[in-house]
Symmetry: C2
Subunit: 192 residues, 2 copies
Amino acid sequence: MTTTKLGRPRSLDIKQAATIAMNLFWERGYETVGIADLTKAMSIKPPSLYAAFGNKAGLLEKALEQYQSQEGKNFKPAFDAKTKEEFIKKLFSTAANSYTKHKTLKGCLVLEGTRNTADKTALEISTRFVLSTHEAISEKLSQLNVENNLTIADLCITVLFGLSAYAKAGISRERLQAVAHKMSEGIVININ
Amino acid sequence: MTTTKLGRPRSLDIKQAATIAMNLFWERGYETVGIADLTKAMSIKPPSLYAAFGNKAGLLEKALEQYQSQEGKNFKPAFDAKTKEEFIKKLFSTAANSYTKHKTLKGCLVLEGTRNTADKTALEISTRFVLSTHEAISEKLSQLNVENNLTIADLCITVLFGLSAYAKAGISRERLQAVAHKMSEGIVININ
DNA sequence: CTAGTTTTGTAGTGGTCACTATATTATCCT
DNA sequence: AGGATAATATAGTGACCACTACAAAACTAG
């Protein structure tokens, strides 16, 4: 059972292309980035992109996967937390930090990438990633024996949405960190 | 000093046109709504729109003004509050309510309308409205003798951003109200 | 009435959008 | 070598984008 492939070998590095797309979508949003921008940045022609990813939404999916495996690492300390206080604190502060880490790549690609897009497929793909984040948070809260873990997970998603949006709007790192700090203090006091 | 105007009288009702634009931008976002959509909904031709508003961004400005004078009323009880606790509580709960009031018009037009838009003029106009909201909140907090009123105002904007984004993502009214309630409880405990 | 002024509808402008029909190129299999 | 297969580049597709040149229409002033 040999797995050698027939035909002309692919010269496009798929992971590298997904990373290029990730950076463009992250900086400017899914709909604002055109196929021409993408192919130019990848130094390929449109048919190569379509052969590799099917369509623009398929490329978004790979870009989001790349984003998750790359940026998700930042949140490992939070999800390794032993107490609910530590989890909430690290979740919010990590978000504030990573959302303002780069000058051009602001906010969270998952939460911002497909805002105001008409492409329903792209929207559905993004929504899947948001829901999986909600699931991860509510599960962690449950493990930490937090009451009303679903509502608190909703609250966390709301805060992440807010921090990401404000980061994208251009707030400074210091101000966003202050918000995350104050926010986690208040929330931590109020959960059981 | 008569103020009679020369030339053909305007048959387009500017306020009504701004309201139509407001609803379209609110539902679908600034960039997703085309001039063709707007002129069709207003039953006019493009030159009439450009004669009245200059360009698409000028129409956005009038739409945002209409939005502010129309939806801003919802927040009057919050800004009439006598204590910081009452203010925060009403600010968040009003946001959760008004952001989920209509099935198609979700979230806040000011906070969502120009997400991921390349049009810098439109972005700048939206940003002005966000900044004026920040100013109103920080001023109210100052009147209520809240310490660190600028940081708390940042926190409030973050929450409004989050509630609006989550509303736009389709969360139910009940869940968003629960988030707003839990959020205000925690924040109120933690401010001085 | 005519002249001046402003808004209107007609009918487009060039530019960009995501996407593709077709042919060429580069590989593996026989 | 020659056929099969798959990825590539060439060169476009029609649809939509915000916007406008132009002239007809509707009014006021004289």
